[in-house]
């Protein structure tokens, strides 16, 4: 079994899907000849030719808008936007068309397409390279939002995204692109979109998180374990549609919930999860649902980023706070 890091798993999934399905095409800025600034699409052009993996001009709206047309005309475009902060020029196409074409045409025109991009901070990069905009997509009906946290998940989820009959926003936490490796099965497998993963069972508290924060959360949980606290950790994998069942069941068991997100705190994904738990498991709650998130400020340039990024220590503190809360 190949041992891969996250970005290699992206590449591996693309490679296998392009092999399996000739209608899959991959393109984006620098995604062709060079294989992407993170090397996620490396070797694809050489292997599948310039018609199936190619460079584009710097025009994010153009990339997404052209993909819409291609998807209507029989292809399965998997487009790369170079960084999370450069998705905004494509928002009109994404919100006004990608999410809507099926509904608008009452099922005649559907868009089996994927929009991939590296997301999140923590790589000491320039401005606009560290955003966590997932909630902006999650609020839009008609989209699915996926964020993997391991190489195994990356392959399974990206494969599922490419095969999905509907458009999928596939966010890749760039901070962990090369953070660790894992055995990734060669064979074909998919991880169902819309299903969360209980990465650690526990009784004392439910922690819901996703993407790069899973790793940080597990670190904090290890510390908590040492104190005899055993949180259940749910890796969302899919942000929209939310796996409501998984969250609610866990909270019904533990009575407490903490949501850990990398994005700024207010109006984020964590808020929705808390609202949901209120609606569905209010009487089970033994402590106020809590959040660990970034403060509501613009991501600082790297010399200030350490003050901004949620870290295991903060998560650990919040775990204690939630677990020790007495009603």
């Amino acid at each position: 079994m190949p041992v891969l890091n996250n970005v290699q798993a992206v590449n591996y999934a693309l490679m296998q899907e392009m092999e399996r399905d000739p209608s899959v095409v991959v393109f984006g800025e620098d995604a062709g000849y060079e294989g992407g600034v993170f090397r996620a699409t490396v070797d694809l052009q050489e292997k599948f030719g310039v018609e199936r993996c190619f460079d584009t001009p710097i025009s994010e709206s153009g990339i997404v808008g052209a993909a819409v047309g291609m998807a209507i005309n029989g292809l399965k475009p998997v487009v790369e936007l170079q960084f999370c902060g450069f998705t905004y020029p494509a928002f009109n196409q994404i919100i006004s068309h990608v999410s809507r074409m099926r509904n608008r045409s009452r099922g005649r025109f559907t868009l089996p397409m994927v929009i991939r991009f590296p997301s999140g901070g923590g790589i000491r990069a320039l401005e606009h390279h560290s955003e966590s905009p997932e909630v902006l997509f999650a609020h839009i009906p008609g989209l699915k939002i996926v964020m993997p946290s391991t190489p195994y998940d990356t392959k399974g989820l990206l494969t599922a995204a490419i095969r999905d009959p509907d458009p999928v926003i596939f966010m890749e936490p760039k901070r962990i692109y090369r953070a660790f490796k894992q055995e990734v099965p060669e064979e074909d497998y998919v991880i169902e979109i819309g299903k969360a993963n209980v990465v650690k069972e526990g009784e004392d508290l439910t922690i819901v998180t996703w993407g790069a924060m899973v790793k940080d959360t597990l670190k904090a949980v290890e510390e908590a374990n040492k104190k005899g606290i055993f949180p259940e950790v749910i890796d969302l994998r899919t942000i929209a549609p939310l796996d409501r069942e998984a969250i609610i069941q866990s909270v019904k068991k533990t009575g407490r919930i903490l949501v850990v997100q990398e994005a700024v705190k207010s109006f984020g994904v964590a808020s929705e999860i808390i609202a949901l738990v209120n609606e569905k498991a209010f009487l089970h709650l033994e402590a106020p649902p809590a959040r660990v998130a970034a403060p509501d400020i613009i991501v600082p340039l790297p010399r200030g980023e350490q003050y901004y990024m949620p870290n295991p220590d903060m998560i650990y503190e919040k775990i204690l706070e939630v677990v020790n809360f007495l009603t």
């Binding site: 584009t56 709206s61 052209a66 047309g69 291609m70 998807a71 209507i72 196409q93 099926r102 009452r106």
Partner: protein, 362 residues
């Protein structure tokens, strides 16, 4: 090639029929079978009939917001006629003539303007995208359609319609630029109808013509008299053929005029002179084609009278059907968000259904 002979930089505009139906240059007249010439006339007339009645229904409170077409029939019918069945059309929102020429039935079109998404579910064998409201966003879809065709080894061409105002949007630019780079077989058809709601075209761009904008993208543009169906057809045909042969995109500026209001919510007397409208009425695309056909013995007052009466009745029938059965089905607003409803949507669907059922609203 016409695109070479009619350089927008030299102020040239392709015209075959003048406003009085005279042929300006016999050598340019296309070989169109008589039968088709008559059909084109009928489609323009049908378009105008349907358009006027839509406006009337709206004024009667029976139809919702509608974007009138009057004056632009030649641009639309002529260009759509140049397409093969396999070709793709990506309209904006004022393309009644193009939709009809493409073969979409009026009932479907009316259903859309009546406010029901089912009006965008066109028959499977007709290659037209739904109305695209965000200005020029559809230009990119047209490029993608053509790129996909090429990649799949098909010689399908796409056409995108947009207005003079549409050229100001970033998406217009990105579409033309991509089409240039990939030599996409896309015809960009700019209906320069002189106005973008209340804003005249010289406030949209300082460019002398819209056609010349093509040169920024490494391909050619041509300005045609958009009220001359023969000129529109000939220019589009050449563009389609060039696209089909792999010679890339073309930008066509159809120089025309919106005779009616922007939409039924608009009052054009606020921002333009009656006199300007009158001048353009003189250049009516139907009028000149009528004279041309009459001179060729293909058309007569009588034929027109009879056809318009039939059209009138047909349009009336179509709209009445829409009025009777055009309401949106409750289920439909939930059913097409995804291929399969998510659990959340299932729940909301059930909740809402119960709510409206309890109140006798379903």
């Amino acid at each position: 090639m016409l695109v070479d002979q009619y350089s927008p930089f030299e102020g040239k505009m392709l015209q075959i029929l003048d406003k009085d139906g005279n042929v300006l240059d016999e050598s340019l007249v296309p070989q169109i079978p008589d039968e088709d010439l008559v059909k084109l006339m009928k489609t323009m007339l049908y378009t105008r009939t349907a358009d006027r009645k839509a406006l009337m229904y709206q004024r009667q409170g029976r139809m919702l917001t509608y974007a009138p077409n009057e004056g632009q029939e030649a641009c639309q019918v002529g260009s759509a006629y140049a397409l093969a069945k396999k070709d793709w059309m990506a309209p904006a929102f004022r393309e009644l003539g193009a939709w009809l020429q493409r073969g979409v039935d009026l009932k479907t079109i009316f259903l859309y303007w009546y406010g029901n998404e089912m009006g965008s579910k066109v028959a499977d064998d007709i290659r037209i995208l739904p109305v695209s409201i965000p200005i020029s966003s559809q230009c990119l879809h047209a490029v993608g359609l053509a790129m996909a065709a090429r990649k799949r080894g098909l010689d399908e061409v796409s056409i995108a319609y947009f207005g003079d105002g549409g050229t100001s949007e970033g998406d217009f630019h990105e579409a033309l630029n991509l089409a240039g780079v990939y030599k996409a077989a896309t015809v960009f058809f700019c209906q320069n109808n002189q106005w973008s709601i209340s804003v005249p075209k010289h406030f949209q761009t300082a460019s002398e013509t819209f056609a010349q904008k093509a040169y920024a993208y490494g391909f050619k543009g041509i300005k045609v008299d958009g009220n001359d169906i023969l000129a529109v057809y000939v220019a589009t045909k050449e563009a389609v053929e060039r696209g089909r042969k792999g010679e890339g995109p073309t930008l066509i500026e159809g120089y025309t005029y919106r005779l009616g209001p922007h939409t039924t919510s608009d009052d054009p007397t606020r921002y333009r002179e009656e006199q300007e409208v009158d001048e353009w009425r003189e250049k009516d695309p139907i009028k000149r084609f009528r004279i041309y056909l009459e001179r060729r013995g293909l058309w007569s007052d009588e034929m027109e009278k009879q056809f318009v009466q039939e059209a009138d009745e047909e349009v009336e029938r179509a709209f009445k059907e829409v009025e009777q059965s055009g309401n949106t089905q409750f289920d439909d607003i939930f059913k097409y968000q995804y291929e399969k409803m998510t659990p959340l949507l299932e729940e909301q669907y059930a909740e809402y259904k119960a709510f409206f059922q309890e109140r006798g609203m379903l």
